[in-house]
């Protein structure tokens, strides 16, 4: 028997795997198709073909301000998480702080805690501190849920690093910060790009934490989609979802091209 045959999965496994992929991807296709329907309700297959729903969402001030809010949060929280996450991962990796294992677990906790629990906890905390409904409060909440992605990717990249390269830079005359900026940072950059994209998408797409903390007259894109669906669905929801899918796809494609993203997933 050839080794190929031995490692090849059976027909049943192949069919099952294929079915899972189809099951996961069909809803995405359905949403995209529904966005082009001329009817004023969601239907499959789409009746007719129109781009008017895209025009409608892109000229709707509610959607536009939600998109703006989401981008502010995603860019802002990713930037803050990068600065904080890389700094803490670096310190933790160099063991320059006591109890580093405990601190790592603490930073990673938002990954394993149910998002709803984080939402409720922050709601109570913000009510007490008066941060509720403020942009700062929302931004900090997104930092909490995005920072684990940065810390994890930074730690993974650092652990693959020969520590001697930084020492070599130091002996050659670089200050501690120069050694980090000129040697360590470029070497961990691919991992950081991957982590930052995860963080960005996580923030962009977050509902369960955001919905607890959002102010009365602000909203983010996923929260708006969520509440639109509750109130009754027209294809504009499908259109904005399609835009979100396309944007995410482009980001992932760029990431793969630039940084070999797949190595970090």
């Amino acid at each position: 028997m050839s080794p190929d045959r031995e490692t090849h999965p059976g027909l049943g496994v192949t069919i099952a795997a294929f079915a899972v992929i189809v099951f996961l991807q069909v809803p995405v296709i359905v949403v995209v198709l529904a966005a082009f329907s001329t009817t004023s309700y969601l239907t499959i297959p789409p009746q007719g073909l129109t781009l008017s729903w895209f025009g409608k969402v892109l000229s709707d001030p509610t959607y536009l301000s939600a998109i703006r809010m989401s981008l502010i949060l995603a860019f802002g929280s990713t930037a803050i998480s990068l600065a904080l996450g890389v700094a803490s991962a670096y310190a933790l990796f160099r063991r320059s702080v006591p109890g580093s294992e405990a601190i790592i677990s603490f930073l990673m906790a938002p990954l394993v805690l149910p998002a709803v629990v984080i939402g409720v906890a922050l709601l109570q905390f913000y009510s007490l501190t008066g941060l509720r409904g403020s942009l700062i409060g929302l931004l900090l909440a997104h930092v909490v849920i995005t920072v684990p992605y940065i810390v994890r990717s930074a730690l993974a990249s650092l652990s693959g690093l020969d520590l001697a390269v930084e020492e070599a830079a130091r002996v050659l005359g670089a200050t501690g910060f120069e050694a980090f900026r000129l040697v360590t940072l470029p070497l961990i950059r691919p991992g950081l790009v991957a982590g930052a994209l995860f963080a960005f998408i996580t923030s962009l797409d977050n509902v369960p934490v955001t919905i607890f903390l959002i102010g009365a007259n602000q909203t983010t894109l996923p929260v708006l989609i969520f509440s639109s669906v509750e109130m009754g669905v027209d294809p504009s929801v499908a259109a904005i979802s399609t835009l979100l899918i396309v944007a995410t796809g482009i980001i992932l494609l760029l990431a793969e091209r630039r940084a070999g993203f797949h190595r970090f997933v």
Partner: protein, 360 residues
């Protein structure tokens, strides 16, 4: 004029002293090796000189400047790492330019010095390659060029040849030595390979357990080891447990096993001490004339041919075995097992050290 000196330099982690108050002076242009088994503290010394480890005690002087408290980037040293530690994201050219750029060398001056350094290690045409595109030996040479380019006051090597294969290692030894001579650069070289240390160095410091055992020329280290440890670490020693039988002046008589007594020219321990007796293989001679007085009667147990030399395991009275080495083309080059032979051992090639297991 001293280029690098240590005054009572020591390092401890908690209660464990890894380097024990070492004082040493290295002259301008001198090539000094620190030699010892792993864990003897030699790399810690090197890292303290480079500023990567902070000493617990003592001072480090480069020239007449006390650098003990300076960070590594202020010491003006060159360091070649065991792993080479090249910057993988930079070209060979930029690797070599790194130290110069930190010293604000720019423009034509930078270009000239990078090319000079690359020419010195015979890699003039490799500037635009990345380290991963080079062989191990070439990477090693880039590491050397990178360390040399900023014209450091002292060049440090941390086991630089241990990742190369044997033939390349021999070539690099000669190339390194020639480069060091040509530049006249003071060099501190850390290694566990005695061949490297003896062949390249002006002076060798042999270390064990954080203590400097002997700091002397390679010839003195080899022929006049100061301690039993040095004798046991250098060359290819026989090591047999035994006892000091009697003392007379500096030397005395030792007994190997139960029966064999040998005179020793220099002993550290008093009579009655259990010791390990160290005798170099090439100091154990096979006598052609079996009737010579003082010879040890034995039989060949095993013959092993290693090119230019032949080793014999010789079984003596009481089951003691000694390895004797001889030239592979001499008169005793082809003795069969069970051949009776007579050995002679020079009294000044017999050394003792505290018995393993009997405590230091």
């Amino acid at each position: 004029m001293s280029a690098l000196s240590f005054e009572q330099l020591g390092k401890s982690y908690g209660d464990v002293a890894v380097v024990n108050d070492i004082s040493l002076t290295i002259r301008e242009g001198e090539f000094v090796s620190l030699l010892g088994p792993s864990g003897c503290g030699k790399t810690t010394i090197l890292r303290m000189v480079a500023g990567l480890v902070q000493p617990s005690r003592g001072r480090i002087l480069i020239g007449s400047d006390d650098v003990t408290a300076l960070p590594p980037n202020k010491r003006g040293l060159g360091l070649v790492f065991q792993s080479y530690a090249l910057f993988p994201h930079l070209t060979v050219y930029e690797n070599v330019a790194f130290g110069l750029r930190r010293r604000k060398v720019a423009g034509a001056g930078l270009d000239k010095r990078v090319k000079e350094a690359l020419a010195m290690v015979r890699l003039a045409d490799f500037g635009q390659r990345y380290p991963r595109q080079l062989s191990g030996g070439q990477q090693q040479r880039v590491a050397i060029a990178r360390a040399l380019a900023p014209r450091p006051r002292v060049l440090l090597f941390d086991e630089p040849l241990s990742n190369l294969d044997a033939q390349l290692r021999d070539e690099m030894q000669i190339e390194l030595k020639r480069l060091q001579r040509g530049l006249g650069i003071t060099t501190l070289f850390v290694t566990h390979d005695q061949g490297e240390a003896l062949s390249m160095s002006d002076r060798v410091g042999v270390m064990a357990k954080g203590v400097m055992q002997q700091f002397a020329t390679p010839e003195d280290i080899y022929h006049r080891p100061a301690t039993g440890f040095v004798a046991s670490f250098i060359g290819k020693p026989n090591r047999v447990s035994g006892i000091v039988v009697s003392r007379a002046g500096k030397g005395g008589v030792v007994r190997l096993g139960n029966a064999i007594e040998l005179p020793a020219a220099s002993l550290d321990q008093p009579a009655g001490t259990r010791v390990d007796i160290i005798i170099r293989q090439e100091a154990v001679r096979l006598l052609s004339d079996r009737s010579e007085p003082g010879g040890l009667q034995g039989t060949i147990a095993l013959r092993s041919f290693s090119g230019s030399r032949v080793q014999y395991v010789v079984r003596l009275a009481g089951g003691v075995e000694l390895v004797a080495e001889t030239a592979s083309h001499g008169p005793n080059a082809a003795l069969a097992p069970e051949t009776p032979v007579v050995l002679s051992v020079d009294a000044d090639s017999v050394f003792t050290m505290p018995s393993e297991g009997a405590g230091a």
